[in-house]
């Protein structure tokens, strides 16, 4: 074990962790919007809208994240027409391609988490609101959403952790995130065990923080 290398690589790896966290937070931010939108669409009575939302979640939960990144990064890059459009400004950058892939992926999972959370709300609660003469819009915002958020916390916490680990795939499209820099250090030192142990430790520590934050929120919002 080369402990000196482990200590020396720590600052570089911590520096790269910033990129990992940026990828994670932006993906979760966009993913939450997408997830919420599609959860609502899933519960729509119109079968076309309903099936469309189901199709989205089916495709993105049914294919590997790596394949999704490759299709968005290398696949779309091959479409010549796309390269002449304004979209190329975004798709040219590996950073945004990764965020698009991550957001679409976590969005699909989030939509399922939120949908099932909405469906666990007992009809009695909504009926109670109605019997008090509260409009269904206010019932949705003041009763259904807060309960759904609390219900989905444990599952969503898991999703954050999965996504955190998923960001390591950004290194496959040239991004120098935590895994990317770890691989770079290995490419010059040829010592994968030491470097990956340090990188793994950093991932573990971030997971620990996410896990405990979610646990704290669960306690705070329990009823």
């Amino acid at each position: 074990m080369d402990f000196e290398l482990m200590i020396n690589s720590l600052p570089k790896l911590l520096n790269a962790t910033v990129i990992t966290l940026k990828l994670l937070s932006l993906s979760l931010f966009f993913g939450l919007f997408i997830g919420f939108l599609f959860a609502v669409l899933r519960m729509n009575k119109n079968p076309i809208i309903n099936k469309f939302a189901y199709g989205y979640s089916y495709v993105f939960r049914g294919t590997p994240l790596l394949v999704q990144i490759f299709i968005i990064y290398y696949g779309l890059g091959q479409v010549e027409y796309l390269r002449s459009t304004v979209l190329w400004v975004i798709l040219k950058e590996p950073y945004w391609c990764a965020i698009i892939a991550f957001a679409l992926n976590t969005g699909a999972y989030t939509s399922e988490i939120l949908r099932s959370a909405f469906q666990t709300i007992k009809p009695g609660m909504i009926e109670a609101g109605k019997s008090l003469g509260i409009s269904s819009k206010i019932i949705f915002y003041k009763i259904q959403i807060p309960i759904a958020i609390r219900q989905s916390l444990p599952a969503y916490g898991n999703e954050i952790i999965l996504m955190l680990k998923g960001t390591s795939l950004a290194s496959t499209v040239t991004l120098m995130d935590l895994t990317g820099v770890a691989k770079y250090i290995i490419s010059t030192t040829f010592k994968p065990i030491e470097v990956f142990i340090v990188a793994g430790g950093i991932y573990l520590f971030m997971t620990f923080l996410v896990h405990n934050t979610i646990k704290y929120l669960e306690r705070k919002f329990s009823y």
């Binding site: 290398y74 040219k92 590996p94 496959t172 691989k183 770079y184 490419s187 040829f190 010592k191």
Partner: protein, 284 residues
């Protein structure tokens, strides 16, 4: 429960024993299978290319049984050190940096590196000598590096990770270019064609091979590079020998590879294979 445990234990133990016998029996040679024409795979997944054929004939010269193992490029040297195989034949140039960790046989082939761009790029028509050797230095080399530094400023240059080409760009010889690294040369080629890379650096043959097979208008620009960070030809990578049994075997292996290369060269086998795969005699 006891029988269950015993079964598992004996299965695991037998795996260990089989693994060891297997290791002693054959020479295992690691290659990437993704760097044509050096080494690649055909449609059925079979390993092909210059080094695959050369490996088989070197094994015949050594009178040994061989097995060719596929390994991702970025894990090539770590995998050798962890004894996943005994030798590397993967278009790996002999460089001082790698020699700190592993040892090399004599070189069997040499290649020059060159920048590639897409037709119509502003980098076309750079005024440099046709080839520079970084080990020799001199005013020609300095002038060429200066021209390149100016031309590549602010440009994104793509390379495969952990290669001599990445080392050269990281060395600062051509200023602070924006280096982007990829796991395979295939991915470098894809992003060069898509326009995400302003230029790419690799073995010149890797680009001509890609241009030929894909029909994309990739053009080589600037000087061909050799020497310095680009090393001294491509050789067989082997673990550094030692005093223990395996170390002695590795030192022995290095000797037999050197002898086999001598014989293959004398018989014209290396030249013949090089002409077949590169279109010119890249042997050394």
């Amino acid at each position: 429960m006891n029988i269950f445990k015993k079964t598992i234990f004996s299965v695991l133990a037998s795996l260990l024993i089989v693994g060891n016998v297997y290791a002693a029996d054959k020479i295992r040679i690691g290659t990437e299978g993704a760097y044509p024409p050096w080494n690649s795979k055909d449609a059925s997944g079979k390993l092909i290319g210059f080094e695959v054929e050369l490996a088989w004939s070197l094994c015949r010269y050594m009178g040994k049984q061989c097995e060719i193992v596929e390994q991702d490029w970025d894990g090539m040297i770590p995998a050798l050190l962890m004894r996943k195989f005994d030798a590397i034949m993967a278009g790996m140039s002999i460089t001082a940096e790698r020699q700190k960790t592993i040892t090399f046989s004599q070189g069997y082939a040499d290649e020059v590196a060159q920048l590639a761009v897409m037709k119509g790029s502003s980098l076309e028509g750079m005024d440099t000598p046709s080839g520079i050797n970084l080990s020799l230095g001199g005013s020609d080399v300095n002038k060429a590096l200066k021209t390149l530094t100016g031309a590549l400023a602010g440009k994104t240059v793509c390379v495969q990770t952990a290669t001599i080409h990445q080392n050269f760009l990281d060395s600062g010889d051509v200023g602070a270019v924006n280096v982007r690294t990829y796991k395979t040369q295939d991915e470098v080629n894809l992003d060069l064609a898509s326009g995400r890379c302003d230029a790419a650096l690799a073995a010149a043959v890797a680009f001509t091979d890609y241009a030929e097979k894909s029909g994309k208008s990739v053009v080589l620009v600037g000087p061909t590079f050799s020497g310095g960070a680009f090393g001294n030809g491509v050789g067989v990578g082997i673990r550094q020998g030692g005093d223990d049994t395996i170390g002695k075997r590795d030192a022995e292996l290095l000797k037999s590879f050197n002898k086999a290369i001598d014989e293959a060269r004398k018989d014209g086998v290396i030249s013949k294979l090089a002409i077949k795969h590169f279109g010119f005699d890249a042997s050394m």
